[in-house]
């Protein structure tokens, strides 16, 4: 099993969710996140004083998938999240040792 984590622009999250549902993913976890990449954040000016805002608001999406689904899921997320402009985010995949469904105690692929 794999954990696919994606950091995307907040206004793309609905498209990403729709793409994953179309693919057949039945659950996901979404949280608000802040951060920056190479482009850093932006600056704001208040009464002539400039403030650099490094941490840009993002959405962090996590979804557990079978090994074989990892690559197409990543592709679906990237396609749906891409705007082509800087700050579109990142997606990464990590191995997962065990998954348990809390309600039933099912484990592994059954629990996805």
């Amino acid at each position: 099993m794999k954990l696919v984590t994606a950091i995307v622009k907040p206004h793309r999250i609905d498209d990403v969710k729709d793409a994953l549902e179309t693919f057949g993913i039945t659950g996901m976890t979404v949280s608000e996140a802040s951060g920056f990449g190479r482009q850093r954040g932006h600056s704001e000016v208040y009464r002539g004083a400039e403030y650099v805002v490094d941490f840009v608001p993002k959405i962090r999406l996590e979804v557990l998938v079978d090994d074989v689904d990892a690559a197409p899921v990543v592709e679906a997320i990237v396609t749906a999240a891409r705007t082509g402009r800087i700050g579109d985010g990142k997606v990464w995949v990590a191995p997962v040792d065990e998954v348990v469904r809390v309600r039933t105690g099912e484990r592994g692929g059954e629990a996805l």
């Binding site: 000016v45 208040y46 009464r47 002539g48 400039e50 650099v52």
Partner: protein, 447 residues
Amino acid sequence: METALDSGLTAWMLVSASFVLLMTPGLALFYGGMVRTKSVLNMMMMSFGAMAVVGVVYVLWGWSMSYGSDSVAGLFGSPVTNFGLADTITDANGDFVIDGGLPVVVDVGFQATFAIITVALISGAIADRARFGTWMIFSALWVTFAYFPMAHMVWGGGLLGGDGPFTSIAEPIDFAGGTVVHINAGAAALVLAIIVGRRQGFGTVAMRPHNLPLVMLGAALLWFGWFGFNGGSAYGADGVAGLAWVNTTTATCAATLGWLAVERIRDGHPTSLGAASGVVAGLVAITPAAGSVSPVGSIALGALAGAFCASAVGLKFRLGFDDSLDVVGVHLVAGLWGTVAIGFLATDTGLLYGGGFAQLAVQVIIAVVAVAFSVMVTAVIGLALAVTMGWRISEDDESAGIDATAHAESGYDFGGLGAPRSTAFRGASSSVPASAADAVNTSEVRS
């Protein structure tokens, strides 16, 4: 003296007084939005606190010191002669005293609102870090020793008004409070910012406004209230009030444009905080001049006020004093400009209207005297409070946020992680059997 009641005037002055009173809660929003989330309530409480203190003090000795019948050397009225509005509201027959068609008690209310907003204005210079108790005491002392004497000197028949010695040059003009309100508050703010000292992280930590819509709403309410401030200062439901109304509008619009133009050129973006600030700068600058300039003159006065103030607000970073919300950069600068600009733009006596230098000279004199007086009095009061009560909250409290430590409240409750746990209400005894509602509160419902 018109001793018959003028009901139209009385109605207008009651409305104006209500408008001006609204300015202080408006200021609370304006200032509250500009501070960080952790100190929004304290910032608003400083306005409401000033309102509470001055509202009481004014009727006790404020009116007597400002406009009472017993002047002390032209500096201030005796606080005891008309203490508690004695011999002010009604005459020996029990009839309301009427002055110029207006019941004097209505004027008391109108003038009290000016004293309230002036004190509240100062609070913006010491955001986030001043002890609330010290601020409350300061409010009472400052309004007594700085505001009431200044009001007496300018409007109450004292040294800086039409009956004073400078009238031999030209009659000083302060229509609605350039010296009494704005220079007075702005100079006091400068002194207090220096005495109280900088906030932790001033100049290095980002202290962004936490809610700009609040700032815009506050500026809008200030603008609305200012129609009472300037329009009411005509003391008539007449053409002068109308002129003041129009000038207040045009100068403010021009100042907004002036501020935004400076921002667009200097920083690349016209900002909402700049628009709100330009509004206030224009309102301040037109205050002393509202009755003596033409609407076209008010455009020039306002546009320059916006440009001057937009340029001035950055000075605190260069000079190193933490005038947190730019009370000096807006009220002192625009107050000085508006007061001096009368010397150029007054339609009867201004330099640009062929009136010569006399009006300009006298306007500069009253501005300088007002600054000197306010600085001196505020320094004495501020330093006295620094060594007795102390001005600063502890460093820990400042970093945790003054709302939580001074008032035991937080401005916003978004729930989620870190939200406060529900606990028993104070005074509830543990021996009282838990009701179903209590059980829900503490998540102890069992099936």
